[in-house]
Symmetry: C3
Subunit: 156 residues, 3 copies
């Protein structure tokens, strides 16, 4: 089946995308719930709304870079980095809603994961150009290194 061959190379990315969509809906429902209780505490609504906005601002960037990395190089480490990103995002969102005495985390989060995925894209394009102009294909070596390097994202 030709169609199944397409799915073969992206199914992990699709799963991560689905999980991220679920998370988006979870965030949106938090906003919706606070919006209805708006009269009680404006501060809580502002916090959850701001946390949701920051997450949503970064979302297209994340999706684009994850899919590019997955398609250009290798889907497994890209999906793995995606999962880690979603965990970081969850932690960021929860941290934002914390005690009002605490300082809120900054605007950016998950910089390391976005950098890793960008690097994967660059390596993928570079590998293609090497293959095109020199005929040499280091894809297997690169994939092995990428798989190993993705474990580094687990470091705190």
């Amino acid at each position: 089946m030709e169609s199944c061959k397409v799915v073969e190379n992206i199914y992990l990315l699709v799963i991560v995308t689905l999980i991220s969509v679920l998370q988006n809906v979870f965030f949106a429902q938090k906003v919706e719930r606070e919006c209805k209780n708006r009269n009680m505490s404006t501060s809580a609504f502002e916090r959850v709304s701001c946390a949701n906005r920051n997450c949503m601002d970064a979302y297209p960037t994340f999706l684009a870079v994850m899919w590019c990395a997955g398609v250009c190089l290798s889907q497994a480490p890209a999906a793995f980095a995606g999962i880690i990103y979603l965990l970081v995002r969850q932690k960021y969102f929860i941290g934002y809603l914390g005690q009002s005495s605490q300082s809120t985390p900054g605007y950016l989060f998950g910089k390391r994961i976005i950098s890793f995925l960008s690097l994967m894209c660059i390596v993928g394009v570079f590998n293609y150009l090497l293959w095109r102009y020199y005929g040499s294909d280091y894809k297997e070596y690169v994939e092995t290194i990428t798989n190993a390097a993705s474990a580094l994202l687990l470091l705190p």
Copy 2:
């Protein structure tokens, strides 16, 4: 033509994406126009700006899930659900701009369509895994069922 074969599997999705882009531009022009008349009525500007923001917040989620559903399973029902989503969004936007005495609709909209598209993704990935590990391919049955189920989205 190899390139035409790629387009064959996605052209309906491309058309829906184009319509959604047109709609985005329409929303943005509404905001732009109100922004220039800002001095007259702050409330109207805030309403249209908020409606546009809510639509834009949900846009990447919608695009991601529609394309995943279309690529993993079948493009026709995914594009159909996309069209319905755009109609719901238009109604939501117009509803947001209504009488200031009316209560505004909530933050979320189109939940049923997003759920349907997510379900399509899950079924697509599941079908691929079945094909990979058991060699059985139920794609045709699944597509027929999906086509029929997408008609349910028309229910109010």
Copy 3:
């Protein structure tokens, strides 16, 4: 290598996407820096935050239309238009942060480029339909015309 054939048709788009991600991070860091200096000047923070928001609102639309145009028709002019869009966006962002006495630019920017990319999508889908129903393929002519037309985007 099958995987390299996939990359062949999209590598320019991937490069433009990467540059746009870098630009997003640059914008976000500007916001982050102003956010920390918030007490000094609320106006500067509001300006940079608003500029970033407007750019981020338009970002998914841009990505979607660039990728559709690149996949449906031809990647070189789509990537070229993407680069021009990023330059326009940079200019818009810088212009937004200018003297507070100046009036800010509007909500929309890069309309011409988005229109050009949308037109490329329409031509690509139309060309596919012609090929499907009449068997005639004008892709080469269309690509030549598109390449020439993309130079028109350089006009101020």
